[in-house]
């Protein structure tokens, strides 16, 4: 039980770190990573909860939940990264345009 508790507490600690990162960081990539840290924390708590039968047998339901949760987190992260890339490409386009205007003005 104590080991389970340790896992759960570590998970909660990760969650806190992630939430702090999400609200304190402005950079998109760091925010996406922060959400994934929150996810890791939650999944750790879930897996720790699988070790709950007195016989020592592992409860499969939390494992199924964590697997699904990981799939969801991966998909959401992929979408978030796609948006971040799109925003970055737009920003690059804009700076390129500004740079070209500067060159034109200088020339």
């Amino acid at each position: 039980m104590t080991l389970t508790l340790w896992y759960a507490l570590t998970g909660v600690a990760l969650l806190v770190v992630g939430v702090y990162g999400l609200v304190s960081r402005v950079h998109v990539l760091r925010q996406i990573m922060a959400v994934n840290i929150v996810g890791a924390g939650v999944f750790l708590v879930l897996v720790a909860g699988a070790h709950r039968r007195p016989s020592g047998a592992i409860d499969p339901v939390p494992h199924a939940m964590v697997l699904t949760g990981i799939v969801v987190a991966v998909s959401a992260t992929a979408v978030a990264l796609a948006f971040a890339r799109r925003l970055r490409a737009d920003a690059d386009e804009r700076t390129d345009g500004a740079a070209r205007e500067d060159e034109a003005r200088a020339g």
Partner: protein, 505 residues
């Protein structure tokens, strides 16, 4: 497991509950691979097909009572159980009616090619995402356990976020990203709550949770986590920051779907958890806190709507405000008149969905015609776009809560419950909120009476006006159908009357 199989046999003639979820989920990938030519008829056929299966399920529930189905014969805890009672069916009908009308609007909008979306492929991408969203919403309303609710909510979130990004402007993509991050955090907090519930209760099924006595030390913090996660997804003040940019910058049909339906999905889950799965777990103070935040939402959302410079921002902030009403009901359910408050909340959710979706479509039509939606520059728009503007007027009447709209009946029921349970301050908040919404609606309506300018207007296709008008009329008429809605809600309704802090569980 075997015992439950016998006591709750799956009726052989009941495939509709499955089709309601499976049909849109099957149609979505087909719409994705379908060529441009076949897309419109296919989209129309699948929209009507989903609506028809919802109608059949509604008939089944009305005739035979609560419907249950375990997919593939696998029961809880690993299988997926679907469950349809009156509340589920009402939400499904809300989604289907709004969905069909908005589909008509979307057909017109995305058929224009380039007015609403910078990308020509906007139309081809809209249909698969919207069908996924529809399937996800239906799955939320029919899921019978905490984890399937999580998965369904994620399906809703991911498709909703992608739909926002269809606008393809930089602002819209940034808003979609912010929405996605907020929603991800919300669902992870929800999942942590699920983990706590499963670790202590050993079950995820809403029915079993309702039957068992909740673990006194863990259930309140678990419910708190579930509530915070869902409040973030429902955009409850002060967690609403992501909603106005996302809803205001999405393509118009998407704004209508998001403001009308998507926020209701996470609220519906919260509603089920508080009053069905964990009745009496939350202390009265917690429900009071939700009501206070709801009051904050009404005041803050209205003040922002009163100051908004753009029409679609105004409508988006109005959503923040109107969502506040849904949270005012929490301290009322469980008191005297609690059942009426519980019913009123459902009626309010439905009529707000119609009114808000109609308002967004009409606002989008005005933006399409004028080429912008700056309220200050819309002088004389009432005379120049009479049909769209009439839809704005009708939707405004429903939002303000004037008869015969469903909002009027819902607010009236809520106010009566507030008086009966001796919480008159809630009634004051509701009246104040009505005045506020009149204030921001009249900001728009006043534009009908200013002298028209002669800036050129783009023509608005008839189907766009028809969609906005049709839904606005439906929103206004919901008040006339409250009695059958209440009959429907009674099917499988939880016994909320005895939930009070003083009453027995």
């Amino acid at each position: 497991m075997a015992r439950r199989e016998r006591t709750r046999p799956v009726p052989a003639d009941a495939p509709w509950i499955v089709w309601t979820v499976v049909l849109p989920l099957l149609a979505a990938p087909v719409a994705f691979v379908l060529g441009r030519r076949g897309l419109a008829p296919f989209a129309a056929a699948s929209s009507l097909g989903v609506a028809a299966s919802v109608a059949a399920l509604a008939w089944q529930v009305a005739a035979q009572g609560v419907q249950r189905h375990r997919l593939g014969g696998w029961g809880a805890p690993l299988g997926i159980e679907l469950h349809a009672d009156g509340l589920s069916v009402l939400m499904l009908v809300m989604t289907a009616v709004t969905g069909v009308v908005v589909s008509l609007h979307a057909h017109g909008t995305f058929g224009l090619g380039g007015h609403e979306t910078r990308e020509p492929s906007g139309r081809a991408r809209f249909w698969p995402l919207w069908l996924f969203l529809w399937g996800g919403l239906n799955a939320v309303f029919l899921s019978a356990d905490l984890f399937n609710l999580f998965v369904s909510l994620e399906l809703v979130t991911l498709s909703a976020v992608a739909l926002v990004a269809l606008a393809a402007t930089r602002v819209a993509v940034a808003a979609a990203l912010q929405y996605l991050l907020a929603a991800m955090l919300g669902s992870l907090l929800y999942l942590l709550g699920v983990a706590l519930v499963y670790a202590t209760e050993g079950t995820l099924s809403l029915d079993e949770l309702a039957r068992g006595a909740p673990h006194a030390s863990v259930a309140p913090p678990a419910l708190a986590l579930l509530t915070i996660g869902l409040a973030l997804k429902t955009a409850l003040f002060p967690l609403h920051f992501w909603l106005p940019p996302a809803h205001a910058n999405a393509p118009t049909p998407v704004s209508a779907l998001l403001s009308g339906l998507v926020v209701k999905a996470s609220f519906y889950v919260l509603w089920r958890l508080w009053f069905q799965a964990f009745p009496g777990v939350a202390p009265f103070e917690a429900s009071m806190l939700l009501a206070v935040l709801g009051t904050g939402a009404i005041v803050w959302g209205s003040v922002q709507a009163l100051q908004a410079t753009r029409l679609k921002s105004l409508v988006a902030y109005s959503t923040v405000a109107q969502l506040g009403y849904l949270f005012l009901v929490f301290p009322l359910v469980g008191g005297p008149g609690g059942l009426a408050a519980w019913q009123a909340c459902a009626v309010f959710a439905v009529s707000h969905a119609f009114a808000k979706a109609a308002f967004f479509m009409a606002a989008g039509n005005i933006r399409l015609a004028a080429g912008h939606d700056r309220i200050a520059d819309l002088d004389g728009i009432g005379a120049r776009l009479p049909r769209s503007f009439f839809a704005v007027g009708l939707a405004s009447v429903a939002l303000m809560g004037l008869p015969p709209s469903g909002t009027f009946v819902a607010k009236w029921m809520m106010m009566r419950a507030a008086l009966e349970s001796g919480q008159a301050w809630l009634m004051v908040v509701m009246l104040l909120g009505g005045l506020f919404s009149a204030g921001y609606c009249f900001r728009v309506l006043a534009r009908a009476f200013t002298p028209p300018t002669d800036t050129p207007l783009q023509p608005v296709p008839g189907s766009l006006d028809a969609a906005a008008l049709a839904l606005a009329v439906i929103a206004l008429a919901t008040g006339l159908f409250v009695a059958p809605a209440l009959d429907l809600l009674a099917i499988g309704a939880p016994d909320v009357a005895g939930l009070g802090q003083d009453g027995p569980r």
